[in-house]
């Protein structure tokens, strides 16, 4: 079984964001980056399949981006990926989902992957497109927003999460692209021995030009901080005083303490 997991590295969402000098993306300086949360479920699911098959699977972890994304690839390898593929691209922020999916498709086309995992969306751009476009480009079946995944032979039975707590059970044959939703599984933490093993694993690097031939179909004209519509009164300071202040406000503004 040949498995590809496509991951992205994104900034920590608790960061304070600033817009960059071009005004079209966030300033990457001073940000801490980590693996996109949704992609952790994707890596975990791939590793579980390999375990289910008694090791008879080969997992490639792919990420597109500047040098920093190697950290995320290595984490994926420490979680159980067999090999890393770094598609080197210093202009990641300007790529649209069409270009990213086309790049991955060009890499994957000749390699006959049986199963391709992605997160359902990235936490920074949040387009929710790359997996589904990739499936379309490769002619693979596509199932998105999975919270359950079961493989039997070459048939997958999956649970898709719909709105309002309803789920849909779907079934399809490999090859397929699937996109992972939060809660699909419990992603493991890489153990120290497994982190050590990463050094013995293959880490390939390619310039993005090897795969990318498409122009973007959308552009970001502008990025900006949202106008503060917030009506929140902000309280800061010493904890004990904050507690008193807050209780006084609750007494005045709500009926719950009366």
């Amino acid at each position: 079984m040949k498995i590809l997991v496509c991951i992205k590295q994104v900034p920590d969402m608790e960061s304070r964001f600033k817009v960059n000098a071009d005004g079209v993306w966030y300033d990457e300086r001073d940000l801490a980056f980590r693996m996109n949360e949704y992609d952790e479920y994707a890596v975990e699911q791939a590793v579980r399949i390999k375990e289910q098959l008694g090791g008879a699977a080969d997992i490639t972890i792919l990420s597109i981006g500047p040098a920093r994304v190697v950290e995320a690839i290595k984490k994926g390898m420490a979680m159980g990926g067999d090999r890393g593929v770094h598609v080197k691209d210093d202009s990641l922020a300007q790529r649209d989902p069409w270009q990213l999916a086309s790049t991955i498709a060009a890499f994957a086309r000749s390699k006959n992957f049986d199963l391709i995992f992605t997160g359902m969306q990235s936490q920074d751009r949040g387009s929710t497109q790359v997996g589904a476009i990739l499936a379309e480009l490769l002619g693979y079946a596509c199932a998105t927003t999975l919270i359950g995944f079961e493989l039997n032979g070459d048939v997958v039975t999956a649970r898709r999460e719909l709105e309002g707590g309803v789920k849909a059970i779907v079934r399809f044959r490999l090859p397929a692209v699937v996109t992972c939703q939060l809660g699909l599984n419990t992603p493991r933490y890489p153990t120290l021995p497994n982190i050590m093993k990463v050094r013995q694993k293959e880490l390939l690097a390619f310039p993005v030009a090897d795969f990318l031939t498409e122009e973007s179909l959308t552009i970001t004209e502008k990025m900006y901080l949202p106008e503060k519509k917030g009506r929140a009164r902000v309280l800061e300071g010493d904890v004990s005083q904050l507690a008193d202040q807050l209780l006084a406000i609750l007494k005045e503004k709500t009926t719950v303490l009366r």
Partner: protein
Amino acid sequence: MKTLLICEYRQGKLLDVSYELLAFAERLGADKAMLLIGDESQAPKFGGKVYLADAGKYGEYNPDAHKQIVLEAARREQADLIVFVHSSYGWDLAPQVAASLRCAQVSEIVGVVESKFEVAACNAKLRRIATPKTPQAALTIQAGAFGYRGEAQGTPQIERIEIPAGPARIEFVGYEAAEKKELDLAKADVIVSAGRGVGKKDNVTAIAALAKALGGELGATRPVVDAGWVEHSHQVGSTGQVVSPKLYVACGVSGAIHHLAGMKNSEFIVAINKDKDAPIGEVADVLVVADVMQLVPALTAKLAK
């Protein structure tokens, strides 16, 4: 400009969120036609053209067939914009449609600014203007961002769509109903919710203690539920419960759109967060900038007095 608006339909019913597509098209000042893959009895109340394909024949969820139907309706309508709701249906189908047409897609539009599409980034801490470079485009709009005001009315002119039978690679097996709620959070006057910022499972006890001291119930965000710190019946949000208590206290909750969808109509909202910029500040009445595990026990202790 011509829009083709793709209705949402599930378990034999047109979903109300479909009307938000009309509100969006009106914001653009565009011409409107709709597509329903469903039953004719569920056709939207809309005095324009509705393309109709029978879900009895093509299935409620069958991406291969639905893609062909959307493409056929878009071709007949010569639609410039094919608009979906950003939902498990829309984000599944829209990219497949866009990729077949090699056209641009803009996802989860939250606003229209000078006729351009505004979308959120980085957990709503940033916004961007995303613009298609192709003449035709697929769009998805955020549910709730374009509220439909007024009573829907009108009788549609129905135009039927049939497509040749093709392979259906995704077999729809069935729906699984939402879990029965053991806890009806909607009845609580006070909800104190634990977000990932509480740090670990053991700390949830302190949040539950504050809920109790205020005579309320414990709520939770999804990651806290997924991690097994709190039962799913306590989850608030678009895939949990929708609540509007007299007081909602969000402890270590960032305020992601999916969480806000479940609690933003609460009467009074307090957020406790160490991040002054957390998006929860957009809906909160009071944002207390503090470490939740210091402030919450202090509050509970003072309430006990």
